[in-house]
Structure formats: C-alpha cells, structure tokens
C-alpha cells in the first residue's frame, strides 16, 4: 500500500557494494582459548536470549518457540544458520570480531557490526589488545557525514493520488549537529528510508508480490532535501517531524545500527512488515528502554507508528511541520487584492502580461511570487523532468521578471495546523453494533472496517474531505426469519474531494470496489459484486466544514442472471453529496444518487441517505443512518468503536 516504491535513493547507492561478510573466520591461534572463553561466558549469561541481542539481529519468536530473524540478506549473518539460531550467530559474531582480517577491512565484522560490538563489549569486556586492527574507512565516513545530533520520525501525509501512498509514509531523519559558525540547515540532514524495490510494472503482480513478501525492502540514506523536493514539492504533501527525545548514547546507537542494516534487506509485506514497521524496529534495536513495535496492531499503518511514538511518555520532544507546495501557494494567494488577482489570471495565460500601471512594486512582486507557486503546483511533473514545454517556459519568464524587480521577498509566514497533526487521528480499525428497521422488519447490524476513515468520522489529524476505507463491511441478522446476511462490503472505497478554489480546479472522484445487496426488479434480495466510479466537482467553505459535490457516476454490478443480457448490469447516472460538520465531532453526511440501467427490468435506481455521527468520547461514536432506496426505507442506530 504505502510502500515507497521508490528506490529513490538508488542513485546515491549501490556501486560501492562490498562483497559478502567473511563466513569463514580464522581466529589467530593465540586467541583461540580467549575466544572460546568468551563464547562460554556468553552462553552462561544467556546472552543469545537477551532482548538486546534479539532486537539487534531482528529475531522474532516463532510458533514453535524458536527464533527467526526478519532480516533476509545473508550478509547480515555471520553464521550460516544465523537466521534461525541466535546462539550460533552470537558465537560466530564473537569469533568474527577476533578473526584475521582478509581483504577489504570494510567487510570485517568489527567494521560491519558496530552496534553488536558495542553491546557485547559492554557485557563481555573484550580484550582490545587481542582484537585485530581494522580501518573502517567507509563506515567512519558515513558516520562523519551524518554527524548525528538527534533523530526525528517523519510522516509524509496521505496522498490519495497513488495507492502506494494513500496511507502516508514514514521515515527517519538524522539531524546534524551544528557546526561552529554555520547556520543549521534542515535540508542537509539525512533521511533514512525503508522502502521496497519494485521490479514489476504489472499492477496485479505488484499487489500480489507485495502481499506475500516477494519484494525486497532495504534501508537507504539520502540527503533530506531529496525528501522535501519529492514530498513537499512534487507530490504536494505535508511533512510532519516528530523529534525523538533520545540520549546522545541512544542517537549514536541508532546510527551504528543503521550501518548494520545497510548490509541486509527484508522481504517487504505491505500490510505488516512495511516501511513503518522496520523503522520502529530500528529504533527498538537501538533504544532498549522502548518497545514501539509492541504497540502496533495489524495492519501496520504509518500513522499508527506515530501514535506509538507519542504514546511512549516523554519520547517525543518536538513536533515540526513543513507545508506542502499547495499550502504555500494558498498562503501566497490569500493576501492578494482584486487588482492583483485580476492580473494573476492574465499572467497564467500570458506570462509577459505587463503589470497594471499603478500597482506598487511590492504588490507586483507578491503577485509574481504567487504565480510562480501556482505554476509549480500545476506542472510539477514537467518541471521535475525539466521539459522544454510552454509551462516551464512560462514559469521561467515569470521568474526572470520577478528577479528583475530586485525586491527581496519576506519569508512565508510559518503555519502550524496543530489539529491536523497525524498522531491525533482516531484509531484505524472500527467495529460497530446496531439495530434498525427496514420497512417494518427489524434487523441487527454488525459493522467492521480494517482502515481508516470516512467522511462522517472525526477529522482531527486527517484530511477533512477524504475518505480512505479498506474492507468496510456490514452484515445483518434478521430476527423475523432468523437469517444472517451480508449487506455491503468494499475491498476499497476512496473518496477524494478537492473543493474548487479560485486557483485550484481539480476533479473530485470516488472509487468503490466491492459488493452490496440489491433489492429490485432485476434481483430481489441478492448480493452482487459492484464497481463504481464517479467524478465531478466539489464546492466547500473556506474551513471545509460545509461541502457539497456533484458527480457523474458509472456502476457495474455482477451476479449470475442479474440482467437480461447476462450476469452484468451497467448503470449510468449522477450522484451528489452534502457534508456539514456542525463540530469536529458531530458530522452530518447526506448523499443521493440516481442511475439509469441499460436494458434492464429495473430501468432506474435511486438512493438517498443521511448519516449523523457524534463522537461523544475519544474513539467512540454514535451513528444514525436513514436511507431511502427504490425498494423502501430503512433506518438504523449504531455505536462505533475505533480501536
């Protein structure tokens, strides 16, 4: 899902690949007894079962009480059976540290596994005089380049334009220590990203491989500015940074362990062992006092990892916000006057359009500044690819004109939308129980949803006008006939409302893939597969608390014998909606749709519904539904628990 498909950083990586770690260790004869002593001591102390060791080698206990490391690269293990045998790996690691150096120093365990060394040295007190001398040139260069002072967990916000990023993404930022006489620049910090390397262009294969772990995930480092350009600018996503309150010692250990992880890869599972999971695994390995992964449920959503970090008292020392390009452009257009707006409209058509004669130079500059940001927002891809297109040339013209004015723009006002901080969102899974009446017949209803949010849910920490649902399901029990049946089910259901604004003219859209019960002339009371796609426009107030939309709608339903033509029925029509947030926690959502079915017994379908949801407690809501369909009226009352 939210895999960064990217091996964005591959550009910066790879060629320096060293060979595999030596698997055959030759311990100099004068040290053999010493090493054996250490191994015995480690055994006596039970170090192989110690939390620190298990975390450093990423062992998870398995069903049979044994252990298996989640790491899948052989370069991560010094014993051939190290993946399954913590004790053998531990012994091999100790032997490895004392082994003779062969070939490239960088592959000697002392260079390759600094975090293991540090911990084992603390408990076993290695005899430094007996250890071989190694020069870990690459490693030391890496540490120097990070120059780590602190660590932040960064969340790149929900991005509905791509399934891979719809739930957001997390990665680490290693913050550089201030250098004397230099101003600190966040852009020069280092991003540590865990992502899958995707090797297929086939959508179904992509989904399949991602679910069963056939992609390879690895840790990559890159300057933070690549991340800022990618997320803030190119994809217009906000970045939220949670600065972690780690000791100097712990920060250093994070860095040591990052270096170790660079040697290996993990099989990538979208829903569980994904970007967010392994980033927390890295932190847990380096910081034994915390247990972030212990807080995770299933599936692992990026925002859940933020909640886990925040839930650890005192672990987060600061929260920073870096606005997307879209927000920056909004901030710049917000303050423009009527004359400026009129000219800006002309500039978008003709970048050479002269400024209104009496406009003060500061206003001319502000208008050009806004025009450039709008260009960036609308043509991010052309810009990125550095194409010679009308848009890039127009942008160039605007920038050149702006530069000629010679006025220096003041920095954009810093915003901090505290209520949108992603860790504050309601929990991801939802369970609901309720009852209702359909015509005169009572029913009991069970609702379930694996993730994440719908338009009637509380919006704190989430985009107000987006709905991202994964496996929403409703089943009903009918006491009169003692029947149990599925009412509706979606594999995925996404609503992306993009309100029209003066400078934003984007289509809103809805996608729903799943199935639901139909009761009409084509089929009375049967469950049919359904696919629906709608697109149109949304209008909203500035605060987005009131929004309304109108869309063209197509629908395909499938069920044996559904239509005179066969198992498929196609509908064409329109749908509309109205959402009114009386309060963050009290939301009314009305929707209606009308469809015309081609060559069907049921030629017209109509449906209207209203939902009123009240979040009377954290993660608890009361839900009232009234629905009218061609076949009748129903009403229900439910309680939703977000967990």
């Amino acid at each position: 899902m939210y895999v960064r498909l990217v091996s964005f950083f591959a550009v910066l990586s790879i060629t320096a690949c060293a060979g595999a770690v030596q698997h055959q260790f030759e311990v100099p004869s004068q040290n053999v007894d010493h090493v054996q002593g250490l191994v015995a001591q480690a055994k006596k102390q039970g170090l192989a079962k110690h939390k620190r060791w298990l975390r450093l080698v990423h062992y998870e206990s398995n069903f049979w009480g044994g252990h298996k490391s989640e790491a899948d690269g052989s370069g991560f293990f010094l014993d051939a059976d190290g993946k399954d045998e913590p004790a053998r790996e531990l012994a091999a690691t100790i032997r490895g540290f004392y082994s003779k150096v062969k070939g490239d120093h960088g592959n000697h365990p002392l260079c390759a596994f600094p975090a293991r060394f540090e911990w084992l040295d603390q408990v076993l007190h290695f005899d430094k005089a007996r250890l071989p001398e190694v020069e870990c040139e690459k490693r030391d260069k890496f540490f120097a380049s990070l120059n780590a002072e602190s660590v932040s967990l960064v969340f790149s916000s929900y991005y509905l334009a791509s399934a891979a990023s719809a739930f957001g993404h997390t990665f680490l930022r290693i913050n550089k220590r201030d250098t004397e006489g230099e101003e600190r620049s966040e852009l020069l910090d280092t991003g540590i990203n865990y992502s899958a390397t995707v090797d297929t262009d086939n959508a179904v294969l992509y989904a399949f491989k991602g679910l069963v772990g056939l992609f390879r995930g690895s840790f990559l480092q890159m300057p933070y500015y690549y991340k800022v350009r990618e997320y803030n600018d190119y994809e217009s996503r906000d970045l939220w940074s949670y600065e972690l309150n780690l000791t100097e010692e712990e920060v250093r250990r994070v860095v040591l362990h990052v270096w170790e992880l660079g040697r290996t890869h993990f099989d990538y599972y979208y829903l569980t062992e994904n970007c967010s999971y392994h980033v927390l695994g890295l932190l847990d390995a380096a910081v034994p006092r915390i247990d972030l992964r212990g807080e995770l449920g299933w599936p692992v959503l990026p925002a859940d990892t933020l909640k886990a970090v925040v839930a650890h008292k005192g672990l987060v020392s600061g929260l920073e916000f870096r606005p997307s390009l879209r927000r920056q452009a909004r901030e710049r257009t917000k303050s423009l006057g009527p004359a400026q707006n009129a000219w800006l409209a002309e500039l978008k058509q003709t970048p050479t359009s002269p400024a209104p004669a009496k406009m003060p130079v500061a206003e001319v500059a502000a208008t050009l500044d806004a025009a450039i940001d709008l260009m960036d927002m609308e043509h991010s891809e052309e810009l990125l690819k550095n194409k010679d297109t009308p848009a890039t040339n127009a942008r160039f013209e605007l920038m050149a004109r702006r530069a000629e004015l010679g006025l220096v723009s003041a920095p954009l006002k810093k915003s901090f939308p505290a209520l949108e901080a992603p860790h504050r969102a309601h929990r991801s899974r939802r369970l609901g129980l309720g009852s209702g009446l359909r015509d005169q017949d009572p029913f009991l209803a069970v609702h379930f949803r694996l993730a994440l949010h719908d338009l009637a849910d509380e919006t704190t920490g989430l985009p107000k006008l987006s709905q991202i649902q994964f496996l929403p399901t409703e089943a009903r029990y009918l006491p009169v006939t003692s029947e149990f049946r599925f009412e509706r089910f979606s594999l995925t259901n996404i609503i992306n409302l993009m309100p029209l604004r003066r400078y934003e003219r984007k289509l809103s859209w809805i996608v729903d893939v799943g199935g639901r019960r139909i009761r009409d002339k084509d089929c009375d009371d049967c469950f049919a597969g359904a696919f629906e796609f709608a697109t149109g426009y949304t209008l909203a107030t500035k605060s987005e608390s009131v929004a309304t939309w109108l869309m063209a709608d197509v629908e395909a339903m499938a069920r044996p014998g559904l239509d005179v033509l066969g198992p498929l029925r196609f509908g064409l029509g329109a749908r509309a909606g109205f959402r009114f947030a009386l309060h963050d926690k009290l939301i009314s959502l009305s929707q209606a749709k009308a469809l015309w079915y081609a060559k069907s017994d049921q030629t017209l379908g109509f449906e209207a519904s209203n939902t009123l949801r009240w979040f009377y407690m954290r993660n608890l809501a009361l839900n009232i539904d009234v629905k009218y369909r061609t076949d009748g009226l129903e009403a229900g009352l439910s309680t939703f628990l977000y967990y």
Binding site: A10, S145, S185, T190, P299, A403, V408, S409, V513
Partner: protein, 162 residues
C-alpha cells in the same frame, strides 16, 4: 485469514490504482543528481513511481547505506556538494533566486561557506539571467553555472567552492 483478506483487498486496490505504468522509462540513466533524473513516468496523473537507475533489484547483495557514488554523495563541503545540491534542488533554487530569499539560498550559502550570507540572496537575484539562460538548461549546466557565479562574486566570500 489475515493474509487472504489482505491479498484480496490489496489486489483490488492496486488494480484500481495502478494502471500498469512503465517501470523502465526510455533513455533513463544516471544523469547527475537532479530529482528529475531519478523519477519515472506518470501516466494519467495517477501513478507516480520513482525508481532507481541502477541494478538495485538484481544484485544478490544490496548495500543501501553507501554514499559518494555518481557524484551525488554526502561528502563534505566541496565543489561537488554545491553542484549536487543545486542539481537536486534546481527548481526550488530558481524560484528562491527570483525572490532573492528562501531556504535553498541560505542552505546554499552554508554549503558554499559564504561569509557574507546576507548578500547571497540579492546577488543571486541580480544574476538570475546570468545563471539561467533558458528554461531548458540541464541540471548539470545549472549547477556549473551557479558555481561559476559564486566563484566570480568575490564579495560573497564563498570559500568552499573548490
């Protein structure tokens, strides 16, 4: 059960959102540090795939945490660092130069070791046309062009250019 559920769900999800897009773009190679050089196509405005230029998927050992390759490294403040930064941030730098201020300018002043930081923004603004001769310049050309300017403008006191 979990996996079955998730499999079904995600396949549907991907099928909807991933019109099979090209995973290998034509003529795509390690052309400097520019962001554009590491981005792959975007069909229909829906899929956006970034991908690496190298054989990251085929090697049997993958060492991600490396640096200093393809001139895009994190090596200290050298002429390489300035050029790399400019190439990767090209679009944002151009904008900040036009405005005479911004985060990329102050960062550039840091990397280039400019003693007269306050003057960097306005100097770059004045010389916008000198650095950018057209919209179609390559990232590399922009990097070199900006580096040359910083060298020429002695008043800025940028001492980490070579």
């Amino acid at each position: 059960m979990k996996y079955v559920l998730s499999a079904v769900a995600a396949i549907a999800m991907m099928a909807v959102f991933f019109p099979t897009s090209e995973a290998q773009a034509d003529g795509y190679g390690p052309a400097g540090c520019g962001l554009g050089s590491i981005v792959i196509g975007n069909k229909a405005g829906i899929t956006q795939l970034f991908a690496g230029t190298t054989n990251g998927t085929s090697g049997n050992q993958s060492f991600g945490i490396t640096f200093g390759t393809l001139n895009c490294g994190l090596d200290g403040p050298t002429s390489g660092a300035v050029a790399n930064f400019v190439e990767a941030n090209r679009s944002a730098i151009a904008k900040d130069m036009a405005r005479g201020s911004g985060e990329t300018i102050s960062t550039l002043a840091t990397i280039a070791g400019c003693s007269n930081r306050a003057a960097v923004g306005s100097t770059l603004q004045k010389n916008f046309r000198k650095v950018f001769s057209s919209a179609a310049m390559s990232d590399k050309q922009v990097g070199l062009s900006l580096l040359n300017l910083l060298k020429q403008e002695k008043a800025l006191g940028c001492n980490k250019l070579s």
